[in-house]
Symmetry: C2
Amino acid sequence: MVTIKDVAREAKVSVATVSRALNGSADVTPATRARIERAAARLRYVPMGAARSLVTRRTQAVGALLPDLFGEFFSELIRGIDLAARAHGLHLLVSSSHGDADEAAVALRAMQGRVDGVLIMSPHVDAAFLRKHLADSVPAVLLDSAPRGYRRPHVNIDNEGGARAMTRHLLALGHRHIAFIEGPEGNRDARERRRGFEQTIAGKGGASACYLGGDYSEDSGFRAGRALLAARKRPDAVFAANDMMAIGCLSAFNEAGVRVPDEIALAGFDDIPIARYTHPPLTTVHVRIAQLGHAALERLVVQMQTLETPEADVTTMPCEVVVRASCGFRANATGRQEDIHTQT
Amino acid sequence: MVTIKDVAREAKVSVATVSRALNGSADVTPATRARIERAAARLRYVPMGAARSLVTRRTQAVGALLPDLFGEFFSELIRGIDLAARAHGLHLLVSSSHGDADEAAVALRAMQGRVDGVLIMSPHVDAAFLRKHLADSVPAVLLDSAPRGYRRPHVNIDNEGGARAMTRHLLALGHRHIAFIEGPEGNRDARERRRGFEQTIAGKGGASACYLGGDYSEDSGFRAGRALLAARKRPDAVFAANDMMAIGCLSAFNEAGVRVPDEIALAGFDDIPIARYTHPPLTTVHVRIAQLGHAALERLVVQMQTLETPEADVTTMPCEVVVRASCGFRANATGRQEDIHTQT
DNA sequence: TTCAGGAATGAAAACGTTTACATTCGGTTG
DNA sequence: CAACCGAATGTAAACGTTTTCATTCCTGAA
C-alpha cells in the first residue's frame, strides 16, 4: 500500500508539504505542488480515509437507517439522499431491511463512530430506543416519524395536507357522500391521512363521510370495495388511504361491473408507479420522495456544521394531487397527460 | 467524546484489557469483562471506526458504485447486497445516480481508501476507465457488465438463458410465427436476449421469427404493436425484450380491439411490478435481482479474504419464466396464482 | 549592512485503537 | 521450598494523516 510518505519521498519533500499540496492549501509553490501531484499520480496514491478521519475527527460520511422498504419509495429516497450527500462531499452508508428493533439497534450502534451524522426512518424506533442506542453527540434527523418526547429535528410527509387537498378535489368535482378506507391501526401516516379527510368533510356543509377498515393491503381494499357495493346507499366517491387499497377496491368494482368514475369515483394516496396503469388510471396524492430525502440530508448537514444543540424543529414536505381519470376528470386525447395540483 | 481510555479508567484496567474484553478475546476473566462492559455501557462508549481501521487495515465496509437505477430494480439490488453484507458484518457505502463517466470516476476514487472492496455496475465503465480509476489492490466485482480485456470477477444475469426459456415456452404453447421486439442498439442485455430467442427459434423446425426495432421504452413498444397490426400476416405471439415495451404493445392491441391472448400472445422480460397488474397480466421472465446483489457481494467477500490475485470468473444468475395470462395460460379461479418455471 | 517580517517548508505531536511483548501473580511440580 | 509455567493484565509501539510550531530563506526597509 502506498502512503503519503512514499509520495513525499518520490517528490523529495516532507509529508507535511504533500498533505498541504493535496488538500489545496494556499501556501505551497505552484512548482512543488505540480511535482507532488505528478508523484501522487505516478504512484496511484489514494489517501487512507481512516487515518485522515482519526486526526480530523470527521468521517465525511453519513448513515441512513431505513426499514424494509420496497420499490420506488426506497429507490427515490436513496436517490434524494445520495444526490444531496454528494453535493456536500459526503459518503452515504446505508443500512436497511431491519426486521425488528434489535436488528435496527445493532445497525444503529455499528454506524456510530463511522459517520458524522445519521438519518433515521424506522417503525421500530421510539424515544426509548433512541435514547438507548443513539449517542447525544451524534447529529441525527428523523424521517417521517416523530417519537413523542424525543427532541430531534424531523422531516415529515404532509399526509394531513395531502388528504385535505384530495378531499377538496373530490368535493370540487361535486361528490358529497364520500367513503374513506382507512390504513392500519396505530400507523401514524394512516391516522394523519384520515384526519385530513375528516376535517375537510366536516368543514363542508352538505357533505357526509363513512369509514371502512383497512390495513394498506390490496386485499383489504378489495373487501372494502365489496362491502361498499353491498351497502344500502353507495357513496359518490371512495378515498383510500393508500394506492394498493384503491387498486383492490377498483378490482371489486370492475368485477361487479360498476364503472369508475361514471358510477363511483375513486382516489388513492402515494402515487405508486402502478397507479398510472390501472383502468382507469388512478387519481392519487403524489409524495416527492426524493425531495424528502434531500431535505432530510440538508437538515442533517446544518446540524453537523453548527455544533449547537439540535433544535427539535419539524420540516413538512408538501404533497400533490395528481388528477387522472378515476375521479371523473376526462383525460385528453393522448390519454397520457396529467394535471398536477400542488397543495396550498 | 468518550474513548477507550475513559472506559479503562472507569473500569480500573488498562486500555489493552478493555480492547480485549470488548473484542471478545478469550483471555480475560469473566469478572473483569463484566466490569468493563458495565463501564462501557455506563459511558455509552462507541469505538471509533477510523482508529480501529488505521491499525487493523480493515474498514469493514464495501462500496457499491451504481448507475441511475429506478424502482424495484435498485431497491432489490441494494436489499440483496445489504443483507449479504450485514451477514458478514460489513457496512455498505452506496454511490449511485452518476450521470456520466466523470462523475462515476470521482465517486470510485473517493471510495477507495474507505472500503475493503467495491461492487461496480455502470454503463460508463469500460476497461480503460477501470484501469485508470481502480487500484489493482482493491478487490472488486463487476455486476452485469463485462468490459473486454479486463480481468476481474463478474456476476451477470442470464439474459440469453431467460430468453431461450421464454421462447421454448411460447413454442410449447403451439405458437410458431413469433415476433421479437428488440431493445436498444449496443445494449448488451438486449443483444443477449435477442440471441437467446434467435437460437431457440432456429433450433425448432417449422418455427419462424420476425424482428421489430425498439429502445426499451413503452412508446417504442406501442409503435411496434401498431406496426404488427398493420402487417399483412400477424404473428401468433410477440416477445418483447422488456416489460415496458410489452406494455406499450399491449396498449396498441387493446386500442385496436385485438384480444390477448386469444388472437395474439404476448410476453415480456424483467417482471417489473406492473406486469402483474396489466390486462391480461403479463407472462414474463423474472430476474432475481436481490439474489444477484447477494451473489456479487459473496463473490467479493471471497476475494477480500483470499488475498490471491482475483480470478476473472463469471457467475451467471438464472432467470425464471413467470406464466401469467398473456400467452394463453388460463389463470385459475382466484386469478392470482402464478406458475414459475425455473429455467434449466 | 542589519534586521524585521513574511513565505515556504520541515519536524514532530496528536488522534484512538490493536497487538506484540513484558510483567505480575498464583499454583504446580520437582 | 525453589523453580517454573501459564493465565491475566499492563506497557508501549505502530498505523497514516493533519496541523501546530519551528526553521529556513528571501525581500525590503531602516
